[in-house]
């Protein structure tokens, strides 16, 4: 969305290379920055930002919705991957341990599972059933769907500071002020897309999680639009069952 040239690399020990233990991280020159929040800050310090045109109230709203996605969607994804026995047995353990030889694959996978379960317990998700988790996901999707409405992105009319500055400096004046407002995605759109797209396109033992998302047609359209616009795919990878 920022038009930055990136090369995506998959590594088995990515979590260990990361300074905070979490993926993704970017490696720029001799700097390593991990997780979305710090990466957004880093990119902003280099002069690229998607949310500069938002006012203070909009920025607060954006941060709040990003926390909602982290709080509910990310936690639900972790729950489904590591705390739902069916998924764990059939998919997760095999997938997580696949780059390693036996017995390392088992040890690392179980260690990760133990870590995730400990975290779930600490935040009060330890006793949740799968149905309760799916209901939380539904509530979150409903909130996102309502906030998105019929608009293409979550924040739709923000001032394009660059355009505005150029025109003012070139003394073309302020006529047609509307001209300076553009529809642009922000980091919230990137975050929501990342989670929803993953949920929709990852094959799991049961499809209930992706079904919950598919109930909201504007969220589906949102994902397709970003997929086609920014990832240049002619046809969508999102299947409708």
């Amino acid at each position: 969305m920022c038009n930055l040239p990136i090369k995506v690399v998959c590594r088995a020990n990515a979590e260990y290379m990361s300074p905070s233990g979490k993926v993704p991280f970017i490696h720029v020159g001799n700097q390593v920055v991990s997780e979305l929040g710090p990466i957004v800050q880093f990119v902003k310090a280099k002069g690229h930002s998607l949310s500069d045109g938002l006012d203070e109230v909009q920025k607060a709203e954006m941060k709040a919705y990003m926390e909602l996605v982290n709080n509910m969607l990310l936690t639900a994804e972790l729950y489904l991957q590591w705390c739902d026995d069916a998924t764990v047995g059939e998919i997760t353990l095999a997938r997580y341990g696949s780059p390693y030889p036996w017995p390392l694959n088992h040890i690392l996978a179980y260690q990760k599972q133990w870590e995730v379960k400990r975290k779930m317990k600490a935040i009060g998700w330890g006793n949740k059933t799968l149905d309760q988790v799916l209901e939380d996901v539904d509530q979150c999707c409903q909130a996102l769907s309502q906030r998105l409405g019929t608009q293409p992105y979550f924040f739709n009319k923000h001032l394009n500071i660059w355009k505005f500055t150029v025109h003012v400096l070139s003394k073309s004046g302020l006529e047609n002020f509307e001209h300076y407002f553009t529809i642009m995605p922000t980091e919230l759109d990137a975050l929501v897309f990342g989670h929803l797209y993953t949920i929709l396109t990852t094959q799991m033992t049961n499809d209930e999680l992706s079904e919950k998302v598919k109930n909201y047609s504007n969220l589906l359209a949102f994902c397709r639009r970003i997929e086609q616009h920014y990832f240049g795919k002619g046809s969508s990878s999102i299947r409708l069952s």
Binding site: S20, G21, K22, E56, V57, K59, A60, E61, K63, A64, Y65, E67, L68, N70, N71, M72, E115, R118, K119, A122, I123, G124, Q139, C140, Q142, A143, L144, Q146, R147, G149
Partner: protein, 248 residues
């Protein structure tokens, strides 16, 4: 005639009806939505379930955790969000997530982890309101639970160090308070003239931080500089809780 609803929760002090955030959220919501709750303050004679507070007891069942209690009250037609639009309802969920992720760790730290605060204020207060021998065990358990939560959600695996996390959680909490203050502006409540679920949550998290007297007060000092948030808490205390407070 509705069956009586009884709420067991931690008691008050320093001018608050309760010093415990979760209890305060439920009490505030009940006041806003007009739910008739009989409040049972936990004291030395308490024989209830441990560590699950606040707990709502009805004729048929018991419900714990503020989110579930509020859901139940809404189903019983005590709905403080009746006037909100769909978008405002969505915003409510988002802001509550913001509070839990960004503000709660620092509040937990101020109350339960910061040694000066915990040993001189929090532990004696809670221990004096529990029957022996629970008073020897439960405060320590609550403190450990708080530390766990902070480290597991904000710390870095596999080694969890409190020092590294402390600076970050306080910075996030101050930013969260600033965001809330910007969002509230000069309005009386977050969505217009009537208080809603979001107001109950913000009040529940902020009021104890605002009023309880601690030795180590960095977050409290920051909050006191945001005058509209302080006014927000004082307004709710005066309008909704004045009659039920004795000498505070």
């Amino acid at each position: 005639m509705a069956a009586p609803l009884e709420l067991s929760c931690w008691g008050g002090g320093w001018g608050l009806p309760s010093v415990h955030s979760d209890s305060l959220v439920v009490m505030a919501y009940a006041k806003f939505s007009g739910a008739p709750l009989k409040v049972n303050v936990i004291d030395n004679t308490w024989r209830g379930s441990r560590g699950d507070v606040p707990v709502l007891t009805t004729e048929d069942n018991t419900i714990s955790q503020p989110a579930k209690i509020l859901n139940f009250l809404r189903k019983q037609k005590y709905n403080a969000d009746y006037e909100l639009s769909a978008k405002q309802g969505a915003d409510t969920l988002a802001y509550i997530a913001l509070l839990e992720e960004k503000l709660l760790p620092a509040v937990l730290h101020t109350f339960w982890v910061e040694s000066d605060n915990y040993f001189t204020v929090t532990k004696p207060w809670f221990a004096s309101r529990m029957p022996f021998p629970l008073s020897l065990i439960l405060p320590g358990r609550m403190s450990k639970g708080a530390l766990n939560r902070i480290l597991l959600t904000r710390g870095e695996p596999p080694l969890y160090h409190l020092r590294e996390v402390e600076a970050r959680i306080y910075r996030d909490a101050k930013e969260c308070l600033n965001l809330l203050s910007n969002r509230l502006g000069t309005s009386q409540f977050f969505f217009g003239d009537m208080p809603s679920t979001l107001d109950a949550y913000v009040f529940g998290f902020l009021a104890p931080l605002y009023k309880v007297r601690f030795p180590k007060v960095q977050l409290q000092e920051h909050l006191k500089q945001l005058s509209n948030l302080c006014r927000f808490c004082d307004d709710i205390l005066n309008s909704y809780f004045r009659l039920s407070l004795g000498d505070g």
